[in-house]
Symmetry: C2
Subunit: 244 residues, 2 copies
């Protein structure tokens, strides 16, 4: 049985402030648990799982330091952030993010991407297209929000996500800046750059004017039909598919 | 004040069975409400809104038949499906879907797309790229699930979504069938077809073999990095961007 202190410690990680202070985060469900155990075994510090999960996953890699704590369904419900808790809650150490320098290939810069699902999906897309670094403006969702972790589908272990809290990072780069926006050059008219920073704007509001002004060119996904806009993650996928 | 009967009628629309029987659906929040009022005014049959929303939206188009019922925050909470109810709940009539015939351009066929957010986002992407018809296998999410409605961002009013419950639709078509899968021809090697059916598979499992076998060619989005897969909606966006 979990002690009150352990229950409280795990629950506290639903808050960003606590996650930052402790340098920890939560991941839930068998799929993401399996991915994090495989991809970052040394960073897994706690595994809280029901007996069926333990029966199926008895042999964890030896690099996983953490023991597996069996929990009852009731305990799982108390530590879970999900409406329908799902077998396992994992506690892992956050990765210290490094400030990237935009070099060969594409570096993504996200402006105020607030929707956790979109944010996590963008990390996954970046990983698919070989983008190693994502820089986030201060207003972006927290990478370690459980919904973001979930949506990255394991790519959180491979992509370096760094927060540009003071929004001065672009000033230090020496690489062409491209912006995704609604009134730019059609994608098909743009070649594959050897190196570039790609700015992606907020789901509803687009890029802030100060950022848009930094771009040497503005790219647009040609619209054939009538939808007003595309989801930010979908737009990022389409542009990266074209640029990489 | 809303009567118990009205409260109950609205609440019942959270269930697919009730939505089908009554031919109605729910949409929530100022953004989607504004879109549906603008795009399908004659199909809006109920608007339940807090005073601030009514103050801002006093002048509805005359084609909206429904009166606006003022509701208190407490009533809104009772009729809302959202964790954080947001000013307005709208009840609208479902569109009678027509069985499409695959003709010029692209027709989408979705196999067991179950995640409501992905499904709605695919409807929105189809609308952006001028795809008029989507055919869904029986296992797809319900178009009128409130989360699907939300994710379509108004495109639900413009795209014809038809359910192929018996899964015999493909037999009746005379158009080349393409499939999105992980081990096909790279997208860049495929031209823009004049007409085609594009098969998109389930988020986790991909296309069922029986469907995959129907495809004349299989398309793959080249991977540069390490992610295992792409989100189904993102993949659909990238392929449609290439094919249209």
């Amino acid at each position: 049985m979990l002690s009150k202190k352990v229950l409280k410690d795990i629950q506290s990680l639903s808050a960003k402030k606590q996650r930052r202070e402790q340098g920890l985060f939560l991941a839930e469900g068998p799929k993401i648990a399996a991915e994090l155990v495989a991809l970052m075994p040394a960073r897994v510090v706690g595994i809280y799982a029901t007996q069926p999960w333990i029966d199926r996953n008895g042999n964890l890699p030896s690099s996983v330091q953490s023991v597996v704590e069996p929990v009852t369904e009731t305990e799982l419900q108390r530590i879970s952030q999900l409406q329908t808790p799902n077998e396992v809650v994992l506690v892992a150490r956050q990765q210290e993010a490094a400030e990237p320098v935009a070099g060969p290939g594409i570096t993504l810069y996200l402006d105020t991407i607030q929707d956790p699902g979109n944010f996590g999906t963008i990390v996954r897309i970046a990983d698919w297209f070989g983008v190693r670094d994502i820089v986030c403006s201060g207003g972006c969702a927290d990478l370690y929000n459980p919904k973001v972790v979930q949506s990255t589908m394991g790519s959180i272990a491979r992509v370096n996500v760094w927060y540009d809290e003071e929004e001065t990072w672009l000033d230090r780069q020496r690489v062409p800046v491209l912006a995704a926006a609604l009134d730019g050059v059609p994608l098909s008219a743009v070649g594959r750059p050897e190196r570039a920073i790609l700015l992606i704007g907020n789901e509803g509001k687009g890029l802030r004017p100060g950022l848009l002004a930094r771009a040497a060119s503005t790219l647009t996904i040609p619209r054939v039909g009538d939808a007003e806009s595309l989801n930010a993650a979908v737009a990022t996928g389409i542009i990266l598919s074209h640029l990489t």
